[in-house]
Amino acid sequence: MKSGSNLERVLQSGQFAVTGELGPPKSASAKAIAKKAAFLKGQVDAANITDNQTAIVRMSSIAAGMLAMQQGVEPVIQMTCRDRNRIAMQSDILGAHALGMRNLLCLSGDHQKFGNHPTAKNVFDLDSIQLVQMVKEMRDEKKFLCGEEIRNTPKAPIVQPKMFIGAAANPFGDPFQFRVVRLAKKVKAGADFVQTQCIYDMERFREWMKQVCDRGLHEQVAILAGVTPLKSAGMARYMRDQVPGLSVPDALVERMKQAEDGPEEGIRICIEQIEEFKEMTGVAGVHLMAIEWEHKVPEIVERAGLLPRPQMKEKEPVAAG
């Protein structure tokens, strides 16, 4: 085992994995995490804890991850390159491991222009691929990026952070032909699993997966297909017209528009997608991003036939340090 995380175990066992998403609050409320975690517990194998998503200030992903863990939800800590340099990143990774976190998703991060502090200075010391590489070197070579060993003193034991390394892939960004190459770079850098951008355009996703399989990447990395259930035709239009790097077919917007019960239709579409992913070569699981709709997760996973979630063996003992 690379990290011993529940997510790693589920994927390694060959079972169809389910990850969720838990957005920390725009406040210091621990209760807000507990409330969302209650909907996800037992429904997902791990939940992504977003890192100041869309550049809006929220509770730190590691702090929120700790609170989620206390509620029985395994966190996937998201870390963006936007707000931290290599010093802060490595420091936070040490801290996350020490707190018992074992999954880390490496992201570039949305530009601060989209958020509530558009006048902020950004960092982007490393990019997401270099971050993946660094986390892998910390885990496998037991070294910091500078080459020094991860030990407190020359005589102290090496205690390296062992993370199950995630990366994102967007099959809907451009240039399309390069998307799979960039995924290959992330795999080469050391990604263990990949979560995709939310998929609405199944045709393009199928095409992308074919390219992924043609390169044999699905055998080197676990690909979790991203889905976000639509709540309404308005949301579908917003996703189509306003969110960069997303592809929402007009037919889907129309289907939502025609639906008598928008939320129900959105969930139905989502379940149809999951049913297809379960059969699709190279797809190892689903990443369910029910944005501010966490309470619908139990219903979706139930109806998609994803329950019960596998009960994996106890975590291997973690070296004390």
Binding site: S108, S128, I129, Q130, Q133, A169, R182
Partner: protein, 226 residues
Amino acid sequence: MIVAERKPIEEIEKEIEGCKKILIAGCGTCVTVCMSGGEKEVGVLASMLRMRAKMRGEELEIVETTVQRQCDREYVEELGAKAEGFDAILSMGCGVGVNYSTEVLDSVRVLPALNTRFYGANVDEGVWGERCAGCGECIVAATEGICPIARCSKSILNGPCGGSQDGHCEIDSEVDCAWQLIYERMEKLGRLDKLEEIAPPKDWSRGRDGGPGTVRREDATAIDEK
């Protein structure tokens, strides 16, 4: 060239508040070419300030001058000689001009009339675009002449990120995605395979992150002494 833009007139007026006599100093190099701080722009700014002061009933004497370069001691001293008896020099040079004039001309205040934006090129009529970030260690051999540090909003060295769509950057559909440009150029040159290699973390210490930069050249020093 260094590309700059004139500050809003109200901001300039606030800077020179209390001054009775100012010397507006243009610079004959980059800012002349990018039409923000040359002789012509000095004239326009002087007229505006005079007119607006007159309308407010305030006394303001303005003298106009433009030197070859505000980043060269020889020309800055020339400026200093002209500034004798003035309350301030309102520099229409880039930030370098303001700083260096301050440094050389210790006795007079030097205030900025421009906002210095970037190193860029005149890419279209009336349009200047950023093309270099002055990072101190040029990497564009790997990207066939297109700089992702200056031109990618996230300075990503292994791009493009997921926000690239239809050739545009996620921050603005008017902004080109640098990595789309790099991709197309590599494709055209038959070098797409090079993009499969992972670009390593950059040494930022060669640029601003290494502290204020100084370049020393033995050969240049020797020439001076002769």
